[in-house]
Symmetry: D2
Subunit: 383 residues, 4 copies
């Protein structure tokens, strides 16, 4: 029997940025309903948040431990199916671990954990439990990113030679954490964010996007991380030379002090016969370049895109979809995979396309190696 | 007491384009739940559609008459609060009228009706019943359209002198209706679409956008409608010279045979001191122009936008929102206004910003006058 | 024997805009040398201008009559070959007529003359004398405009259905002529500019571009000219509905009060199978659109362009050429045609591609009909 | 007494790319005349080239030695004033040295020489002779590059923190040199090009642009050069992490195998309060970014630009100037400086703005250090 998939949320109380993004993303396709939550480390704030979300009071919990234990006791037709974890990095591991150990699937915000060690432990647990674990590297959810991946995979560009992935932002150009701005405070705090600030937050998105689209893996890197705002405790800018497993070269750079930039995640990939360019701020466009022919402007929703791209757009060409829809693609796919399990079926290949715990481990490895390289006098660090 | 607002839907069965858009739009902000529907003129198709939407079978109706009558008998805590009408133009009037007569608020797709006469009757009914009636001229839901309107209203550009609104599409470049493609079939059929094809479908969007942003009204027009694809029964292209009530001049044009265009709704407004430009396919950007200073690129979600624009975006700058979010702004606002009524409160001014039955009457008047002008040898037709 | 072609100039004294443009254009390809001039109606200013241009004093004339008569007496190896006329509109006819009557080829700025009557007389004279007469509708000199024309001619887009040509500027948004700004003063003066201000100056460029690219002719039009700045004597804005000889429809609009616009001449052409778009402010790009395939971005200087486009670019792809080079293409072609005559040869077809006196007559006809239509209550005026 | 400045050219025979660019650049402003040349290492080809340029046969020389010696014997009113050197890199040093030693000013194509040693010798000679020496790092000739430099200098952006300069091309994506294509052949040949291919040709442009705009100097770098096309003898791609003397960080990258790119030289500079972006393929636009205000689009030719930018544009806003005009700015400035010398005056500061032999030495140092770093296991190389 078909039914909506039930979500419990950890974090994302009133005023949260990413928590509300996850909730919207979970609603868009009508496959998921929010049934419970532990929205804050403050029980009172959790309660108020749950009420604003129209949850019944008995499904609003004081903390994630209570939520997982109480929900586990509810009957199958009622209890949550999966946990969505939208807390700062240092509070990913504990709820994810407990959810898995108690039989709940997990959707977790990125980066996967506070440390590589935690990440690897989660990978082990997912393997042992066989549960579904999705990481919201949401940028890979865009239809034109799927199109880019399929075009590379098709061999249209020949062997890939060069990859440039960049993610400049400007919002930390001032010493914003000194004003107790919530988003800035935890992201620049080594105790909550992890070993890296800028690369933990957004550099790992660039890395994930590059490997997702090209199907290549970084094997060596040379990094220069910087703290460019005085008083800051973690890197707010960094540039990394990378080498890929097929011999391709590349650059990955991320910045939070590129004043005036919003969220300009961009990737350029060049092969022997052509290349492509995609920019997150105009996400429905994929520019395709050729050696001896005019550039082409691929747009979401057209008949000429690969089926995997088409399956991740909802509306016809010319009706721009955005960040929330890309994010929703992860939730939709997870919901469809859980539905398939409930019915004992194998999910359609379309729906199996979302970032996993392995991507998360790879991201944590990248972050750790970038930090190691940046502190080293040696040119290349193996990854 | 706070609760989600309950929606019943007329039309929008499996495979529909705009019905699914309305549903997604109603979900995004978590303020509305779909509780019932009459999704098709075929009872069997309505049933299948409702099941796919996880509705209980007793809330899936064979037709809108049954839905309205049966829902009316349900207790307040259970029955639908409003009806969403997403059928072709010739089936707007009857369900809207019946819903209003039975005390239900209405959200209706545009254009308001099949004829100006029907439109005026609905206007009368809304006035008599005092119910909420929203028309989904969704493009006015974009944050940067709100910003544009507020900038004009602020006097930043001085008196407005020139307005160019255009809506080129290319999807009807071939005789698509001969293939029984569903969207093309009814839109090119005078019996279902009304007096105009292209201007009924998209020309009226351009007109609505122009009047919404400038706060001006068209007083005279001179139109040239064309059928450029052989065999077609309604206009597929048209250009209109317009004059506004403050003396400004303008052009409104729409086309369905502009091969290679997707949905390039664009507006340019020029005043004495500056002007603006907005393009639907890059909706988070508003280009602002000045006489003696560099152009400025306003982007959604920044601190510098007017509060009315800010209130219609969900996520920070750099995270593109799209067509569905703009559409959702109408549903969110309607839900908030119904909630206020339930509580006996006056809704916040922010939420009272959605297209109404009056906008719908004006749109129908525009369509009729464009057709009249196009058939006339006289240069100017008063509106 | 090969030699540079010798130019005499009428108008274009110190501080002139278009005179200097013509001079630069004549220099770029090294085929032309300026040998004499009557640069101003003030003999003294003419002298100073000529000296600044390093001309010997005996070749700097007090007025065009003197120049034409004196130059005629010089031996062939020394006297000017052609006259370049860069004066305001009301001083085109007299020097052009006298030059032709005395055996000199002519390059004349646009519009061709002050009135249609004058224009037709020049057309007659060119026919009688067999001399070369080029009109600097310079925008047709851009390589990507040539490419556009060739693509239409090739049938790639099928039958043309729709043409939108626009030329918005903002520089006359204020009552600039009241400050005695030189460019504004004569362009807004009926005695010097002619029957139309905006359409004489730039509307005729849009018309010329539309007919050049499509190879079609306008047969009927319906115009609304406006004076939007109080006190002005000639139109500063206008919109025209047009119909072409193959049944295509279109819009031509021009404006000098579109505050914040520089020189945004733009054309869009749509046929049955695709279309194109070209914008003067990014002149090395031609956007090509298709019904069922991605848009293509053609760029100047690539191997894939038509030979006629290739022959009008000087440097490889990626090195932007601009307004001056497009202008220079007219001068280069005229010089090559004169060289061919000197050698008794037929010039290469490449070089015969420049606007002629016939284009000028057509432009004057367009201007007059636009003014007539704008003053009429009748909808359509035949052209 | 005012007169045109006389140029002799070394290299640039029929079919040359950069030689013709230099000639056009020298013509545009009417300040320079080509009076002689040694256009090829083949005397016969030199002769044909000179004839095509309408030079008298006695001023067409068989080689640069002959040209310099013969011209030196001509009287001042007749002989060339400066030598323009447009040969491949390995033939810069000898003619430049001989020209300087014989009292001629020099304009030389970049990079300055084949090796750093040669470059330093030329620097010494310029110092000793006091002659004018200009290097055609032409991209700094664009008006918007001047504007960028002035804005940084004004302190508008605060302290500069980050610089990203890139120059991707795709024309060497195949093993083009194997086809004996002339441009490819010498640029990929270590004997003619020098220690680096891609960085000698275009990486040094990116470096020059970064230092010119920011006024900063690179102090340390870490490079990874690659040969990505099999069989090639010099680097065709490279990425360099750089550190500037004020603590700013940066990336400089150049590529000739970025398939589908033409000449996408681009620079982004970020300071504490804002930043800027300039792209060579749309050179009349400078995007200016601010922390808390909308981006601004500066355009060439407007009243709001700095005077140094205004002085390097010829025509009003909206008339795009391009590569040739930027190049011409160097020639115009050199001509004006020579004219001032002839008159015993100090040239206007505007005209003293062109790349010099010192910039050339710095460029050669950069190339050598990039090659050294790329071959090193050590992370940072001092510059």
């Amino acid at each position: 029997m078909n039914r909506k998939i039930r979500m419990g949320m950890v974090g994302g109380g009133i005023g949260a940025f990413i928590g509300e993004v996850h909730r919207i993303a979970s609603r868009i396709d009508g496959q998921i309903e929010l049934v419970c939550g532990a929205f804050s480390s403050s029980a009172e704030k959790s309660k108020r948040s749950g009420e604003e979300l129209y949850l019944p009071s008995n499904r609003i919990y004081a903390n994630f431990e209570e939520m997982i234990l109480k929900e586990k006791e509810l009957p199958e037709g009622e209890r949550m199916d999966f946990v969505s974890i939208v807390t700062p990095n240092h509070v990913h591991y504990a709820p994810a671990k407990m959810a898995l150990e108690n039989g709940f699937h997990v959707v977790c915000d990125k980066p996967l954990a506070y440390s590589l060690e935690e990440a690897k432990d989660l990978e082990r647990l997912v393997k042992e439990t066989g549960l579904i674990f999705a990481l919201t590297h949401n940028y890979t959810g865009y239809p034109m990113v799927k199109q880019a991946r399929e075009m590379v995979k098709s061999g249209a560009f020949g062997k890939i030679r060069k990859v440039v992935a960049e993610y400049p932002q400007g919002w930390l150009s001032t010493f914003l954490e000194s004003t107790h701005q919530k988003q800035a405070a935890w992201r620049t705090d080594p105790k909550r964010s992890g070993a890296s600030g800028c690369f933990g937050d957004i550099g790992s998105h660039a890395e994930n996007l590059a490997e997702y689209i090209t199907g290549l893996q970084i094997t060596e890197l040379c990094a220069d991380l910087s703290i460019l705002v005085e008083g800051r405790l973690l890197d707010d800018d960094g540039s990394v030379l990378v080498r890929f497993d097929n011999g391709a070269k590349g650059i990955i750079y991320a910045s939070q002090i590129s004043a005036g930039e919003e969220n300009e995640l961009k990737i350029r990939v060049y092969g022997e016969k052509g290349g492509l360019e995609w920019l997150q701020s105009e996400p429905n466009t994929l520019t395709v370049k050729w050696l001896d022919a005019p550039k082409q402007i691929y747009k979401t929703g057209n008949g000429y895109v690969f089926s995997q791209a088409a399956a991740h757009a909802r509306i016809p060409a010319g009706h721009p979809e955005g960040y929330l829809e890309a994010f929703a693609n992860i939730y939709r796919n997870v919901a469809k995979c859980i539905q398939a399990r409930l019915k004992g079926e194998t999910p359609d290949a379309i729906y199996q396309d979302f970032p996993t715990v392995q991507d998360g481990v790879r991201g944590m490895l990248f972050i750790e190696k970038v930090v190691e390289s940046s502190n080293s006098e040696q040119k290349w660090v193996k990854m």
